[in-house]
Amino acid sequence: MTTTPTPPVVPADTAAIPRQLTAAERRAAAARAKLSSPWASAVAIVIALVWTIPTIGLLVSSFRPQQSINTSGWWTWFTNPEFTFANYDEVLFGARESFSTYFINSIVITLPAVVIPITLALLAAYAFAWIDFKGRDILFVAVFALQIVPLQVALIPLMQQYVRWEIAGSFWTVWLSHSIFALPLATFLLHNFMKDIPPSLVEAARVDGAGHVKIFFRVLLPLLVPAIAAFGIFQFLWVWNDLLVALTFAGGTPNVAPLTARLAELAGSRGEAWHLLTAGAFVAMIVPLVVFLALQRYFVRGLLSGGVKG
């Protein structure tokens, strides 16, 4: 790290300013100049508004009484504030909606559907990265190519298969399907991360007599925690937010269907019941939003390693 000489100013000031490379500082200054151009700032602000206002509207509405939602726009809330939990109460615990049941279903579906594919993909990625065998490249390319195949081509035969095995309509089909569909991307991403680990580390462990299983658990796994977190968030968001797999395999029964399926059904059957839709949508959104905000750093890293690495 290059240390810039401390400028001869007040010490309190230097402590507050992070040391930067001069070129970067200049670029930052240029960026500031760029944003000070009124058009550029206007465009940025408009984009930011369009991307936030719809969600704010939903959130505000979910706390307004049903009567108000249907007779006046949510923006009137700012001049005429009203606040109620009645919508949430009805959508979560009401006899007809009972989102709380579906909330549990979403959790029960998501946890194994995240843990299982990550574990399997870690092992597969290890084999692709550190075990030499014939046909490795071909197999890896095949697995890689599978990640682009649309799920749609697998759904009907899989469902017929589950029916034959008499496990249709249970959590097992959803877990199994999600795990299978996640494997190609998971293997590819984790393989990318594994390849970044210095070979000398693995070599050293090998010289010490460690077998592949030991190397995997003792050497690689601790180093891969950020990668696992990155893919974990991917998979979590994907499974929690998924509708296609849920509708196909979990059907519409309150025994297995997740929140998204229930929400979509509500939107279809009671499309104008905004007091339920707004609160319901927010119930379905809250967990992924919290997870996402908490682990954003890892998520971005995952995106970048899968996206722009090649």
Partner: protein, 409 residues
Amino acid sequence: MSDPRSPSPPPADDSAGSTVTVSGHDTPDPRLLGGGPRPSGSVRWTLALIALGVFATVAGAAFLLSAFGVSPFDEFSVPWPNWLLDTTTTPEKLGVMVFAIVLFVVVMALILLSVDRARAVPNWALVAAFLGPALLMLAFGLLYPMFRTIRESFFDRTGANYIGFDNYVTMFSQNEFQIVLRNTLIWVLLVPILATFIGLVYAVLVDRTRFEALAKGLIFLPMAISLVGASIIWRFVYAYRPDQDGVAQIGLINQLLVWIGFEPQQFLLGAPMNTFWLLIVMIWVQTGFAMTVLSAAIKAIPDDIVEAARLDGLTGIRMFRYITVPSIRPALIVVMVTVTMTTLKAFDIVRTMTGGQFETSVVANEFYTQSFRQGNFGLGATLAVFLFVLVIPVVIYQVRQLRLAEEIR
């Protein structure tokens, strides 16, 4: 690809014998988990070969049989205990969930332990243990179904009678399906271009400004929201109330229209514009992804290039056009391709917002409707195959890119 990191056991040879030089005793060692560093290698080697052979045979046979319409997994009926499948109460659900995870962990631990215990584990056994479960699941859950779906697309709605290319003819000739194809084309053209463009412009605008983190976070957030949730958010934005005295608009856009003196619109009903209102939702969700990846690419542009361009007098839009965009071309392509794929497969938005009515359906939605609503498996399979055909060029392109990347490594 020559890999300098070859593992300590010699690379496994196809022909038997090269790794089994230690085999001294001929009686098979029955202990799978035990076994010390002693010459049980040959046994394990054989076992692994058998396992691999079984796997290859099952997979191969499955593909072959699927071509003739036979399902190899048919005669597999187990009297499942009821508590595994029928879960009604919360404790039951959580119990089965924990059971599933524990079962999975135990099975994997057994597999790994069995290859860890012995010193002379042959390479094939290792590969089978590490790679086998994943490959088996992929073969069962993606490859085999793919072949079945291709086959099914040549059969009628029940899958009983072979009808040749009739489904494909239906898909391309009937009016309602032509609308579906047209809509899909509009989605696939507009969403990637607009999402990438807006994401890029925004990334450039907020790059290295004081509010960068917050500004990016705002655009980023929709990525955490399900497409169903996003659809509801936007349906509320488009909401319509009849234009009468005493009736206030509750949808933001219609209110804006009323404020500036226009009549409120039924955005989701009028074709063909309703397709555009729908795909805005997809752009809204995907721009965050584009922005994140492109922002990272912009930050990776070497400072001296930017510096040199500035010395040459490039600023503003010309800097963007001649320096920024060419420098991040690979990232741009990746973003476009990824967004295209996502757009092609997504059906959630159409299904939640209009249910595919009012001429808004796309191929992915029509697949669901035909397969699971109309019960027309043949036509559903055909639509799925069509989606698959559409992504094949991308698959080939991606594989090429992967090869290039591997060479650089």
